[in-house]
Symmetry: D2
Subunit: 240 residues, 4 copies
Amino acid sequence: MYLLLDEKGNSYLIKGETDFHSKYGVINAEELRGKTPGESIESHTGRRFSVLEPGKLDYIRKARKGPQSVTLKDLGLITAHTCISSGSRVVDAGTGSGIMAMYLSNLVYPQKLVTYEIREDFAEIARGNFRKAGIENIELRLDDIYEGIKEKELDLITLDLPEPWRVIEHARESLKPGGYLVSYSPSINQSKKLFDCLEGFRSETLECLSRNWNMETVRPHSRMLGHSGFLSFARLVEKN
Amino acid sequence: MYLLLDEKGNSYLIKGETDFHSKYGVINAEELRGKTPGESIESHTGRRFSVLEPGKLDYIRKARKGPQSVTLKDLGLITAHTCISSGSRVVDAGTGSGIMAMYLSNLVYPQKLVTYEIREDFAEIARGNFRKAGIENIELRLDDIYEGIKEKELDLITLDLPEPWRVIEHARESLKPGGYLVSYSPSINQSKKLFDCLEGFRSETLECLSRNWNMETVRPHSRMLGHSGFLSFARLVEKN
Amino acid sequence: MYLLLDEKGNSYLIKGETDFHSKYGVINAEELRGKTPGESIESHTGRRFSVLEPGKLDYIRKARKGPQSVTLKDLGLITAHTCISSGSRVVDAGTGSGIMAMYLSNLVYPQKLVTYEIREDFAEIARGNFRKAGIENIELRLDDIYEGIKEKELDLITLDLPEPWRVIEHARESLKPGGYLVSYSPSINQSKKLFDCLEGFRSETLECLSRNWNMETVRPHSRMLGHSGFLSFARLVEKN
Amino acid sequence: MYLLLDEKGNSYLIKGETDFHSKYGVINAEELRGKTPGESIESHTGRRFSVLEPGKLDYIRKARKGPQSVTLKDLGLITAHTCISSGSRVVDAGTGSGIMAMYLSNLVYPQKLVTYEIREDFAEIARGNFRKAGIENIELRLDDIYEGIKEKELDLITLDLPEPWRVIEHARESLKPGGYLVSYSPSINQSKKLFDCLEGFRSETLECLSRNWNMETVRPHSRMLGHSGFLSFARLVEKN
C-alpha cells in the first residue's frame, strides 16, 4: 500500500496495482512501485505528490466510518486515562465500524483485542476495515455484551453502547482490580444513568474539545466539532 | 508498592514497609501486606481504604512535577495523532520532570525511549520519578538536542522546548519518512515560528480543552484548566 | 466616588472622604478630591494611581457577591439574545446579591426594573449594592415569584432559581407576545426539566465559555471558569 | 412588518402587503393583517404559523451579512464589559454590513451612534439593513477612521478593522477618561500588535465560545462555531 499526499494536503491510500486517477492527473503505477517512502512522484500533468508508507493512523483516517464514530481526541483521552499498552487485555463493544478496535488493537499488540457486535451489517464493515489495515490481532464476536463477557482478567473495557449501565455487572466480574470501564456516550443522560449504577467503582466523567488553528493567519478555524461524546472512566476498586 | 484509595477519592502510593499515617487514621503495614488487590482495609479509626496494585498511570499521577508539566489530555492527543505503540522509536526533549518520557516509555515498551535534558537538576528529578515507577526502558541523555540527535530512523520526536524550530533540521535527518515531530508550546508565537520554519513537513496545530463534570449535580466543574499548551504535529513527508 | 487603579491592575472604589490606605501607600483624600478623571495621583511612597470616575461596570465588579453570581459573559449573552434596551419592561428573580438586577436596570433605564426575592438576608445585601451604585430604578419585591407575577406586558423575565419551571405559567400571563423568559441554571437537569415544561414557547439552551489571554506571552491564561450556568432562552410565541 | 414562525423553528420577516409563499404553503396577506401578535395563522395547506411583531433582534438576525459578521455572543460580551446603555456616546468602524451598528444603536437610543466606513459598497448594504429595521439613530460616515475621529467625549469606540492600532492615537483624543476602545480581530496577531501599541490604557483580551445544546437528547450540538474573533477591551485610564 502507498500513501500519496498532494500539494493541497489531501491524502490517498492506494494499492499501486493500477494507475491512480487523481483530480491532479494520473499517477503511473509502475513508476510508483519504484519509489522509496519520502520521495515524490509527478502526475502526468506535472503535479507533485509525496509518497509514503501508510501507518496505522492513515488506515484509521481512511477507514469506512459511521456518522458518530469515535474521534482521535477521545481515543487519545482513553489511552492517557488508562495507560494501556502492549499486552493489555481489552474488550470493546459495540464494534460499529471498528475504529475503536483498530486503534486499541495497535496499542495492545501482540495481545489480541476482543470486540463485541450484535449487528452483522456493522460487523461486516468493521471486518473490511481491519482487513484493509492488515490488522490480525482483533477477534470480532457476534455477541450481545449485555448478556455477558467471556473474557476475564481485563485491564480495560470500552463501551460505545446506548445502555452502558447494563454492562456494569459483567464488567465487575471480568475486570482485574484496578481495571477500567470506559463508556462513550453522546448524551449526558446516559453518563448520568451509568454513574448512578456504578458501585465499587471510582469514576469521573469528562468531555474534550479539540480546536485546530490556521497557522497562516494565526487564528482558530471557524469550523469545530462542538461535541462527540462524554467519556466516563470507572475504575474497579472493590472486587468481591 | 500499594495504591490506597480513601472514601473521599484521594489516593496514596505507599511501599507498605512501615505503617501509613493518613488523615483518616493509621494503616497497619503488616495487615496491608496481607491484602489482595481489590480488597479493602480499615485504618485504626475504622475508616475504609481500597487496596490496589498501582498501574503506570498511578505512578505518572504521583510523580514529582514541574509547574507546566504536560497534561493527560495532551499526552493522549499525541498518542492518537501519531499512533505510536510497542516498538516505536521515539526521542523526547527536554525531559523536565520526565512525565512525557514516563508516558511514552510505557507505550513503546520493550523499545527503549531516549530523552534529552541539559539541566542536571531536572534530570535528577526525572531519574527519581523513573526509579519510583520501576521504569527501565528510558535512556536519559544529558545533552543539548539543539546540537543534534544521535538516534536515526525515528517514528516520533516530542519537544517541550522554548525554541523548537532549532530542532527541525536534526529531525529531518533522524525521522523516518512519515515520522512525526510533535512540539508542545505554551505560546502560540512559538507554534507560529515553528510553523514558519517547517519545510518538507505537513503540519497541523491544535489545542485541547478537557472539562470534568460533577455527576452528582450533572454540571461541569467550575474549575478548569484554560490552557496547557498548543500541540503542533509535523509529519516528515519529503526526505532528501 | 473615585475609582483608583494601581500599577498592578488592581482597582479600588473609594469615597475620598478619608485618606485611603492601600498596600502601595497612603492616598491623601484632599489631594484626591482635587483631581480630574484621567489624571494620576501618587501615594506617600511615590506609587502612581490612575484616578477615574467609576462607571456602572465598576460598581458591578465591586458589588458584594454570592458564590454563584451570574458572570459578565452570561449577562452579555442575555442582552444580545433578547436585545432589551432603554424602556424595556423586565422582571428578575431571585434577586440574590442583585448583580443581574444592577446590570439590567442600567440597560432599561429610566424604566423601572422589578426584582423578586423571598429571603430578607439576600434582599438586604442587594439593597446595599444598589445603594452604593446609586441605582434608583430597581424595585425589590419581597415576594415569591412561584406564586405569581404582578407585572404585565413584559419584554423579559430573567430567572436564577432552583425550579424555574414553576414560573412558566406566570410568564405566559405576564410576557408580551414575542417576549423572553431566560433561565440561568447550574445543572443541565434543571434546563432539561424547564425545556420539557415549555409549551407555546420557542426555546434554545446554550452555554458560554470565556477565556482570557495573557498578551505579554500570547497564550491563554491557565485559570479559567469552566462553568457558570446554562442559559435557556424561551420566547413566547403563542399567547392565548 | 410581521414575524412568522413555522413549526420547524424557521422564521420569516415579511411586510404582509402581498401573499407569502412559504414551503409550507401560502399565507394570505389580508388574513395576516387581521392578526394580533401571539395569534397563529394557517397556510392554504393547513400548516400553522405563529404571528409576532418583530423586535430589534429579529431585524439583526435577518439582516444581510458578510461572511465574518460579528456574532451575538461577541456583541453581548462588548455590552457586558462596557455597560453602555441609553445615552452612551459610541463610535463604530468599519461599518461592514452594519450589524454592530444596528445592535449598538438600539442600546444607546435615543443617542445617535456614529459608524465609519470607507467602502461605498459596504455602506450601501448597511444602509439597506438600517432602513429595513426602521433604525434612525445611526449616522454613517463615509470616512477613514485611520485619519481621525471627529466625535469627542466618547464612552466607547468599537473597531472591526484590519489595523486597529492605527486608531489608538485618535481614540486617546476622543474617549472620555474611563472610556473603552474595543477591537474585534480574527487573528491573535492583530490583538498582539494592538496590545503592544496601547499606552495609557488598561487592556484585556478574551475570546468567547458559545455552545448550543439539543435539549431533546440532552447533548451539545456537533456543529459549533470554533472561532469568530478575539475581543480586546482597552480602557483609557490616563488622559493627557
